[in-house]
């Protein structure tokens, strides 16, 4: 498990990270969300050791991360970058070798990975001749080729079409399933919501929320329910402690003031007619995000 605790970083008196603490658990995808300039990239760079921190620790399985641990980290920087004039396969092989793989081994891995990412036809082409989406795939290959135990991906989905998002998401899930700790940031909250198991929300350099996606949802859900019933749900408006937000015949979305009220409403709904569904409405990630960063 990758653990960040008390990470602090200032640039010339301006504090950009303040006591950043969260875990990235193995076998899970952790989504890292925050607005522009919230500190995501700085945090990731510090984890990678590319940037020095002012205070705090980055630990892997309880021990402070060393340079040799970091060889087992995979990184996809926010600003994409590969040598434009290097051939795709050659480039990925080079990076694998920098991570310690022997030449032939590196070639086997790089070829297999690039084929899996749909770049099998482009192995001998210069990176600069690839389309933006394909460069992105090559960049992901660069982060994955050495089978990292920890994956840090800064905006891995930006610039990808929906199909490519699925390909990349599939690869990340596979890595997580193999036991890697995966941290990725994204502005596409719907993608994060769909993919991640854990969630970390950062704003203004401070962590505002961190934990399992579902428990965060439960934590931030207001008592909002959705009712789908056969009868007319108009009686809801008169119920004490209920505020109706949306209403259409037997369909209603409403907030209640307590769990008891919710149970009372359910009993009455069943008494009024067949109930197709009565369920608490979880807030979307976008809603949680807005609430948390305020």
């Amino acid at each position: 498990m990758l653990q960040l605790s008390g990470i602090t970083k200032s640039y010339g008196g301006r504090r950009v990270l303040d006591d950043v603490t969260f875990d990235v658990r193995p076998g899970r995808l952790t989504g890292f969300v925050g607005g522009n300039g919230a500190g995501k990239t700085t945090t990731m760079r510090i984890v990678l050791g590319v940037l020095a921190k002012d205070a705090g620790t980055v630990a892997l399985d309880g021990a402070e991360v060393t340079a040799s641990d970091r060889r087992r980290f995979g990184y996809m920087p926010e600003e994409r970058g590969l040598y434009p004039k290097m051939k795709v396969l050659e480039h990925i092989v080079y990076l694998a070798r920098l991570h310690g793989f022997a030449k032939t081994d590196a070639e086997t891995r790089a070829t297999a990975l690039l084929e899996k990412l749909g770049l099998g036809e482009r192995l001998g082409d210069n990176v600069e001749t690839l389309s933006l989406g394909n460069q992105q795939r090559a960049q992901i290959a660069a982060a994955l080729v050495h089978d990292p135990a920890v994956l840090i991906l800064d905006e891995p989905f930006s610039g990808l079409d929906p199909l490519a998002v699925d390909v990349v998401a599939g690869v990340l899930q596979e890595r997580a399933a193999a036991g890697a700790s995966v941290l990725f940031s994204s502005h596409q909250l719907d993608v994060v919501e769909r993919l991640c198991d854990d969630l970390v929300i950062i704003a203004g350099g401070a962590i505002r929320a961190a934990g399992a996606r579902d428990s965060l949802r439960a934590q931030y859900s207001s008592r909002r329910f959705e009712l789908v019933s056969a009868g007319d749900a108009g009686w809801l408006r008169a119920e004490p402690g209920v505020e109706v937000l949306d209403f259409d015949g037997g369909y209603a979305v409403f907030d209640v003031d307590s769990d008891e009220t919710a149970q009372r409403v359910l009993r009455r709904a069943v008494a009024q007619g067949d109930v197709a569904s009565f369920a608490p409405q979880h807030p979307t990630l976008a809603q949680i995000f807005k609430e948390v960063i305020q």
């Binding site: 590319v50 060889r71 087992r72 994409r80 970058g81 920098l98 310690g100 022997a102 036991g179």
Partner: protein
Amino acid sequence: MSTLTSTRTTADTLTFAQSTWLVAEREVGSKMRSKAFLISTAILFLGALALVIWGGFQAQSTNGTPVAVTADAAQYVQDTPGLEVTAVADRAEAEALVEAGDVDAAVVGDQSSPTGFTIVAESSAPTMLIMGLAQLPPVELLDPNPTNDALRFLVAIGFGIVFMMGAMLFGATIAQSVVEEKQTRVVELLISAIPVRALLAGKVIGNTILAMGQILVLAGIAVVGLVVTGQTEVLRLLGLPIAWFAIFFLFGFILLAALFAAGAAMVSRQEDIGSTTTPLTFIIMAPYFLVVFFNDNPVVLTIMSYVPFSAPVGMPMRLFLGEAQWWEPLLSLAILAATCVLAILVGAKIYENSLLRMGARVKLREALAG
């Protein structure tokens, strides 16, 4: 894809040297595949070959400088090589031949001259004749093996231009390569895999290999060219200075490469490279101009031969002229090597501090801090 534990067994942690070598290998490989580089190198080699062969023709053509000599002056030129002597009766006849252009100059007896003769020429006296006559007994005693002026100039230009071009070409290469990595941000991937200093060392070593390779080929062309064109006498004079030049170039280039890498790391875009590397460009050009203008000035050459940035040109030049004692190149090399170590330390510091600072040019004070 297999599980983490089983696949990791195949990857070992690289040593610093291995990381460095991988980087160096890539630097060399990518340069060797650049058509622009291959073509410019080929042109450089052909140019060097042409220079050597041209030098050969020059040497041969000097064997027959036509001069008219009167009987009373014949004694002064009889031992002078490279002259095609036409015997004339008197000064009037000699002057007539000079005016007609049949001879380049005339050597005539003259009682009023301290040397006992006078040279008569059309507008300027032929260099080869003056040089030949300079080997008169009193001169020969002082300097029995004088260096030919034209050759001295040619050698000065040769060392100067080879150093300037080699250092400029590969200095610019290393600067571009550093900025390319910064600009494309691939540097973040690289330094998350290997130490920053290994990256810098690899770049310096890779480009030094390329630059030295070029110098050694040029030296080879010079030696073979001189042998083939029969200029073995010149080779005897030039052999040792060329060998020293190669050694000095090695250290001189490492010195410059470290500084170029550091300078380039301070900017984020190719367009801005000039703002930090221009001073280095001047440092590279200075030895060339100094050696061309002052190759006959022992004081300037002596200073040049000890200043680390110009020693690769100055010291071989002095060795060629026979002005340097045996220990002087060793002392100068020690100074150069010490400067080199210093430059690497300072360069690595600047490089490390600037590499991830994108955007505006990093100030030197900030780059050196921390």
